[in-house]
Amino acid sequence: MIRKHTRRAARAAFAVSLGVAILLGVLAASAVAASPTVKVGSKNFPEEYVLGELYSQALKAKGFDVTYKQSIGSTEIIQVALTSGQINFYPEYTGVIVQDVFKNTLSPKTAAATYALAKKEEAAKGFTLLAPTPFFDTDAIAVSNATAKKYGLHTIVDLAKVPNLTLGAMPEFQTRNTGLVGLENEYGLHNIHFVALGSISSYQALDSGKVLAADVFSTDPPLAAPSKYTVLTDPKNLFGFENVAPIVATSLVKELGPSFVDTVNAVSATLTQPAMLAMNKAVEVDQQSPASVAAAFLKANKLG
């Protein structure tokens, strides 16, 4: 009897110490692996996929520890991911930061002012805004050429002339200052019947006649000339200035230092309007993958 208990006790002791050893080992391993990782994220549309790939691949090429989560969600969702630490780096649009993240009602008058304001507001929350890209990608309102001709539409103000005006956009457009709210308050357009598009693209909606006007992005391939669509001008700059700048956790910037900042800024500097348009076209029209497009671009510019 005594031997049986001793054996059981010995087995139990062995199991417990093995468990503790494993636990310590795992903790040690994770502690060692916890050198600063750049956790990159991107929003849920193709241009952001390309941007996410560009920054991730460039940083990896320079030897940084990088993880990349593609298509986390829209602004609201990815902001939560950022503030909760799931990611510490993602490319955002300066105007979106100013108007949607920090809820300023009207954007500053110039691109530089927009960037400066965004940088200041993010810094106050513990995030650093790195250098902006040359290209910008604002929201825009587009109509089919036929609709433009029929009602004589050139600027957003002209939309007041359209009876039964249906406007299609992603649902978050409804509550944004750079969206329906702005169209109603700044342009005085109260005749808009909003149609939430969900996952269908605005161009599909326009083509099928589901809506007369739709929210589009100014670097969308279908808008490149010759286009089936007319983009209405935005004299009040409601949609603001939307250059891209990476938002990075300030602690990460401090830990990784100037080589990190230089790498990221070098990539941003290459992103001109023609470059972005070409990459968007490659992904959305030529059906190339964002990863390979980014890789090719970085290689050609000696950044990857």
């Binding site: 909760s84 992603m170 969900g198 599909q204 589901k210």
Partner: protein, 236 residues
Amino acid sequence: MSLADEFRPGTFVQALHFIAGNVGFLAGKTLEQLELSGASIAIALALALPLGVVLGHLHRGSAFAIGASIVGRALPSLVLIGVFLTVLGIGFLNNMVALAVLAIGPILTNAYVAINGVDRDLVEAARAMGMSDRQVLARIELPLGAPLLLTGVRIAAVTVVATATIAAVDGGGGLGDVIVNQASYRLQGVLGASLCVMALSAAVWLALLALQALATPRGLRAATLLELSDYGKERL
């Protein structure tokens, strides 16, 4: 590791607030979903029910009738919806067809098995009594096959209503419009709509179960109730 800030079980309370504050909107979405589902089920019934009954009555085509379900199960609903969008464009029609295809399997298979499986002795006896083919079908096979047949309809209906949720990605509307758009409706909206769609599916299930119990000849009602506990079997 979860997204700490926004995602907490307390969000369910907010979800209920969302439902309470958007009853009209959600009711409209629910109606949209039922409309789409109803149309799809109607088509599937029109195509599959008579076919299944006739095949069962003639004791023919078992491989086809049973195979329909096997094939149907291997077709992911998202794939069906995607394929029909490329063929029929966005809107109501493409979703209706995709959902109808999904519904055909259970209806056809169960109708066939139900009618085919009616006790042959009874059918023989009825024929011996002088009943015509049509009378045998109407007075013997259909009533006796009703429970299993209606189970197939019930499964098809709930499958369609549940799948109609993702039809939102195709212009199909319905509660899925809210669920796939967290950006606009926030997590409480998504959860609220998810709870609604769950209630909707369960309601359809229970309503058709009640209908089935009513349509079943009294003598077989006990058997129907027993089915609830034999859930796994009927899916096999």
